[in-house]
């Protein structure tokens, strides 16, 4: 199995083999972060730009650390300190950046398809680090990696994804990724936060969290996407916290060895209680740790692909 794609734009376009190649490669890279000297020379001389039009703590840091541990050079650009505020279009920004010969541009944008447009325009490899409510492929891949690491398999698992599904690029990418395997995916949230015709993606829809978590191997919690107007889809945040916040009592209905995931940032006391977020079933910080290994693997595969 060889990697041939120039860009990583969406999980939907990946084959199962490609997903497995990324996960297998990430396994080999994970060990580097545990060393005393956390650096290998693999991507020496490669330049990687992170171009973020939306706020980020984890994803951006994770990409930068991944690139630096592989000896690539990284440059970070945030929209509010770039020429975007002077009115430059994304296409022009992209073309100007390309003139400086970066090998990879990692982009996050509130507009779905923005990374795709850059990918068509530029010769550099483009990685989608989240485009609006569309996809967040690297998050789904690190989630899959964490599930595989904790459960030893992906096939045969029941995964409950709970929260603001309609606005969640994490949910969308995870559904596409999980459905490449033999999994049962249940999406749960208030009716207003579940997109119509969800079932067509091969998932089950449940409006009661108490039913969604029954026999779950994995529970994935999502925050309300306030920046995409999520709050106006529910009567009140307090009511949402009561009805859809994950509490310890819910875990008793799930499998004994259930794991609780959250892509971050968490809103404690709303979609997840402190005792669950910090409890023994939580793998939330493992997800962050694995994110670096998965992004190292993706950078390695994209920059070394057959041309």
């Amino acid at each position: 199995m060889n990697w041939t794609k120039k860009d990583l734009l969406e999980i939907k376009k990946l084959t199962k083999e490609e997903i497995l190649l990324i996960l297998e490669t990430a396994e080999s890279f994970k060990e580097i972060s545990l060393r005393e000297i956390k650096k290998v020379p693999t991507l020496r001389g490669k330049t990687i730009i992170t171009l973020f039009y939306e706020p980020s703590t984890r994803t951006r840091t994770s990409f930068e650390i991944a690139a630096k541990r592989l000896s690539a050079d990284t440059i970070n650009i945030s929209a509010n300190t770039s020429s975007y505020v002077k009115g430059e279009t994304l296409k022009d920004t992209g073309k100007n950046l390309e003139s400086m010969k970066p090998d990879v541009i990692v982009i996050r944008h509130s507009m779905p398809g923005a990374p795709h447009m850059l990918a068509r325009t530029l010769k550099s490899s483009i990685i989608n680090a989240g485009d609006g409510a569309h996809e967040h492929p690297t998050q789904a891949l690190l989630d899959l990696f964490t599930i595989k690491e904790k459960k030893g398999r992906i096939d045969g698992l029941k995964v409950a994804i709970i929260g603001d599904i309609i606005h969640s690029r994490v949910a969308r990418s995870n559904i596409f990724a999980l459905k490449q395997f033999n999994t049962e995916v249940v999406c749960c949230g208030p009716a207003t936060m579940i997109p119509p015709h969800m079932e067509k993606l091969g998932v089950k829809v449940e409006y009661d969290i108490n039913k969604a978590v029954i026999d779950a191997d994995v529970i994935m919690m999502l925050r309300i996407q306030k920046e995409r107007g999520g709050v106006s889809y529910i009567p009140s945040i307090r009511e949402y916290a009561c009805l859809y916040g994950l509490k310890k009592t819910h875990l008793e209905k799930a499998k004994k060895d259930v794991i609780v995931m959250h892509p971050g940032p968490m809103n404690r006391g709303i979609e997840i209680s402190d005792e669950v977020a910090d409890g023994e079933y939580s793998v939330i910080l493992d997800q962050v740790e694995n994110g670096v290994a998965v992004r190292m693997a993706i950078l390695y595969l994209l920059t070394g692909r057959e041309q």
Partner: protein
């Protein structure tokens, strides 16, 4: 395509026995030694040498696995290799590391392996053991222990096959002539 068996199962075993004795002789026993095999076939040779040392010295040396892909100097020129795991579960600081590979050719794999080891710690010494030295070096690197030396002719290829990977132990020379 002509094929000639250069070493058979017994000959490989005898050669490894000699290398083992040379390692023990040069280091005056096996105190402070550890074995690290370069993926893929070096790992199995390392395990065989570990067994032989166990028989002779009654001591079990640690064996580590080194994948040199991340340290290759030709990543931008070749078809992207799959990165496999490096698995060295012991401390190599101040140890004498016996680095083991099946075939030594240009010396570039050894260079990558030395760099990889240096990132993992500061061994007291690194010594190199190979089953086959086929000459044609491109770097000033030389093995401390070599099973056989054979400079191949143009169009020839020397292949090490091991039971654990290839189902059979043999060193063969294939070529058009």
């Amino acid at each position: 395509m002509k094929k000639r068996v250069f070493l058979d199962k017994k000959a490989i075993d005898r050669t490894l026995t000699r290398i083992t004795h040379e390692i023990l002789e040069k280091n005056e026993g096996c105190d402070n030694l550890c074995l690290i095999g370069i993926r893929t076939r070096g790992v199995y040779l390392a395990k065989r040498i570990q067994e032989k040392i166990k028989k002779i010295e009654k001591k079990e040396l640690p064996v580590g696995i080194l994948d040199i892909t991340m340290y290759r100097d030709d990543l931008s020129k070749i078809k992207l290799p799959v990165v496999k795991k490096t698995d060295i579960s012991f401390d190599i600081n101040n140890k004498i590391v016996i680095l083991i590979d099946d075939v030594m050719h240009t010396g570039r794999t050894t260079r990558a392996a030395i760099d990889a080891l240096m990132d993992l710690g500061r061994p007291q010494k690194i010594q190199l053991a190979v089953l086959v030295d086929r000459g044609n070096r491109e770097l000033p690197i030389h093995p401390d222990y070599a099973g056989i030396f054979y400079t191949i002719d143009k169009g020839e290829e020397i292949l090490v096959k091991l039971k654990e990977v290839d189902g059979k132990d043999e060193v063969i020379i294939v070529g058009t002539q």
